[in-house]
Structures are given as C-alpha cells and as structure tokens.
Amino acid sequence: MLAVRSLRLSHFRSYQSLDITPDTRPVVLFGANGAGKTNLLEAVSMLSPGRGMRRAKTQDIARTPEALGWKIWAELHSLGQTHQIVTSSEGGARTVHIDEKVTPQLALGRIARLVWLVPVMDRLWVEGAADRRGFLDRLTMSFEPRHAEAVLGYEKAMRERNRLLKDRVQEPSWYAALETQMARFGAEINTNRDFAVDRLTAAQTDTSTSFPVADLEIEHTSQAVSADDLELAFAEDRIRDMDAGRTLSGPHRADLRAVYAAKEMEARLCSTGEQKALLVSLILANARALAQDFGAPPILLLDEVAAHLDADRRAALYDEICELGAQAWMSGTGPELFEAFGDRAMMIEVSERNGASEVQIS
C-alpha cells in the first residue's frame, strides 16, 4: 500500500492552511473552477523529487500577497512503513525532511512513487517531443528512482558542454571529460527508458482492460545508444554542435512514439478521446507493473480526469483504480462525474471563501 494518510498545508498557493486525513480510498476533489482543486493535487505532487506537476518555481508556489514561503507536512504509508515528510521553501530552494532528517530531494523517489495526468497532457501526442520525453521519464522514474540522478547528471554535464560549444572553446580534453560523463549517464538513461517501455508493454497486454493498448517505441536521434557509442558520437559531433552552439543529438532529444494497436494508427492521428484513452491506458499499465515490481501501485494524480472520457470509460477507469488499490487523487467540477465510484471514494468539496481555499468532506 502506498497512500498519503495525512496532509497539512501552510500558505501553499490558494491554501492559507489545510489539514486532511484521507483514508486509503481514492480521493475525489470537486468544486468550481478556480476553487483550488489543482493546487491540492500539486501539493501532493511535491512529495516526489523535482518541481511538482506544474513544474513551478518554488517562489511561485507561495500564497500571495503574504509571500511567506510555504510548507507541506504529510504522513505517507509506504509498504508497511509510515514516513513523515516535510517539505518547504522560504523563497529559496525547497528543503525536504524525511522522518525529521534533512534529506536530498531525490530520496523522496525511494519512498513515494507518483505519476500524474494533467489537462495539458491531453495534447501530449500532438505536441513537441519534450513533453512526451518528460512523461516517459516520469514513468521511468517510478520504476527506477535513480533515473532522476542520471537525468540530472546528464543535463548538468550537457549544459557545461553547451557552454564550451557556445564559447567556441578549443580544448579537446575538456570536451572529452564532459562527454565521458554524458555517455555514462546517457547509456543509463537509455537502459532505464527501455526497461520502462518493456514493463509498460507487458503490463498492457497481460491483462483485461477496457482501455486501448498503445504500442510504444523510443525514437533515438542516432544509432549511438551504448556508453561507448555515445562517447564516440559526441566526439564526432563536436564541430557540427559548435556551429549550432549546443548538443544536437543524444538521449535528451529522444522521442516516445505510440501507436493505437487495435487500429494500427499513430496516436497523434487518433481522436481526442482516443488519445486520452491511450494516456490513461499507460498510467494504468504503469500502476499494474509497479504493483508487481515495487509492491504497491503508485499514487496517481489525475487532474480533470473526466475530460474526453465518456460515462462508460469513466466507470471502467474507476473500477480499475479500485481493483488496483491505488490511492488516486482526482479532480473534476461536479460530483456527478464521479457517481460511478459510489462509496468507494472519499469525496471532498473544494471551495473558495474570502480569497482562500477551503475543503469540506462529504
């Protein structure tokens, strides 16, 4: 079981304060637009490493006009253990405490696996590769938390290399020193992503689900995938990259392609409803695979989940979430969108009063 059992917020976005104690059922947040539903989901997303589901800067999260910084306390049940997580920012970088010890953010990934779907991702299959890569990396991280370290290490070394390229520095040893590290992290990234795609593929086909199977493929920018090949490729690309002022190929440019298997149709050509169904299918496959690998499905954050799903699909999704035993946090405007849950979900109404968000458990 992986579930948030207590959540307190202080000066987080529209919440002056909040104190809720969810049980292990899925959590439904309903209420008018702008009431603060997404802000609450975002707070939960901060229990994983990184900038949360809005990729926000820490200073933008603080409630205005007070601008006092913000703080989240959570009690997390993870595989039979209870952890106290406190994360906050007083304007600068955010700090994380797990069980009262100062901890690097990356350590969150080992106890809290989180995956989210937000409305902008409804266009994931038609937008640029960066968003798909980000989605793939988030799923990959849920399987292998150290993926985050590989991605950060790769990006840091690449930013250094890009600076050398931009400044047209001619210093082969310096490039080689950076490229060695990019190659090592890059190969690790490729291996992790391949593993995630394999697990997702297996988890989609080994089950009966009402969501369509997506055939996945990672598109690389070149043949170089292994550490040795990547290192050679980076060295060969130096002159070309210098003209561009940045690193043109490598794992940071890979793309995730999906095909609606039953129709043999590229995801980007499918209808809006089908595209959403494919995304949900992957999220559910991820949850099933993690239930096997990690011992519990991840916490799911599904913002405006009902959009583009008809009543049957919604009911099927809720059934699968309950069957998985996943703590899914979902939002939508009206409670009627979640009727099919019956009493299998905790219903929370979110409203705004005097410029602050409030919740009422119904």
């Binding site: 250094e160 520095v169 040893s173 310096w174 080689a176 020193a177 590290q181």
Partner: protein, 200 residues
Amino acid sequence: MQERAGREIEQLVDLMARLPGLGPRSARRAVLQMIKKRGQLLEPLAKSIAEVSATARECMACGNISGLETCAICNDPARQNGEMCIVEDVSDLWAMERTSLFKGTYHVLGGVLSALDGVGPDALRIPRLVERVHQHNISEVILALNATIDGQTTAHYIVDQIEGSNVRITSLAQGVPIGGELDYLDDGTISAALKARKAF
C-alpha cells in the same frame, strides 16, 4: 542595529558573522565572550590574527596554506615517496592530513572545472600539476576530488593531461557520497576510501 554596543564592537560582530558556521547571533555571543575574557582570549586572538595575516601564504609548490614559502609537507624529504594526492581545496588537504594515513605530497587545484562558472584549466593549477608530476618522479597520482559532475569532469581532464607518463592514476574508493565534500567526512571514512583506492 538593535543593540547599541558601539561602532567598533558592532563592526567586529559584523565581520565575525561572515565566517562560515557563524550567524549574527553566535557572532555576538563570541564577541561578548572575548571581551569578558580579554586577557585569555581577546588579546591573544588579536595578536594571533595579526601574525597569521602577516605570514599566511600559499605554498609555491602544492598550494597548501602555511606560514612558509614552501609548506612543511613539501619540505619533508620523508614525504617525497612518489605519491601525490590531488584535492580541490586546502580544506580537503587538511581533512586528509587529519587521518595521518597519507604519507605523500599534495596538489591543491583551488577549485574545479566549470564552463558555466567561467573556471577553465588555467584558472586552476592544472598546468603546474602536470609540471610537478614530471619533475618529482611521481609514480602514483591519487584523485581525491568530489563526486560532483564538476569534480569528475576535472578528474577526467587531469587524467587526460598526465596519462601515458608512466604514472599510476587512482581515485578514492566509492562510498564517498555524491556531492560529499572531503572536509565533511569523518576521518574513518576518508581512511577507508584511501586504503581502498582503485585505478581510475
């Protein structure tokens, strides 16, 4: 200024508060304590600071800081054993010395390579390092750089510069935490990492 202790004292508090590990409150406490113990603390401290200010300098050879042109380690013939340990900062050198395990000499780089921070090989003491390795018949270079991206970039760069010159290149064993600085590690951890060093 909340407490009007006089301009001179406030200035001292202000300077002390800039020291690592001290904030305005602890600086204020420290200053008060020194004034109360004028004979035991304040006056010897003032004298000591003046002396260090007049004599402290970087060792011409290794970059260590001492009162001599060439530091005691570089001057000690017993330490010319063919082993040279490369560290980022003087604080790392002092951390290594705390363990009393390493019997060779050092080379302090004075930082790490970082294109984004505008630190290149010439800003570090890398050319001087290459020179020293050749001049002093060094048989083993031990890289004791931090496990950060910049630290490792620097390590790879140095290896590239001295490779092929019949020098064994090793690095401190893993187990030194990512981003961990030598200065923050306990002596036992450093000793273990030094004993278990591996070919880079």
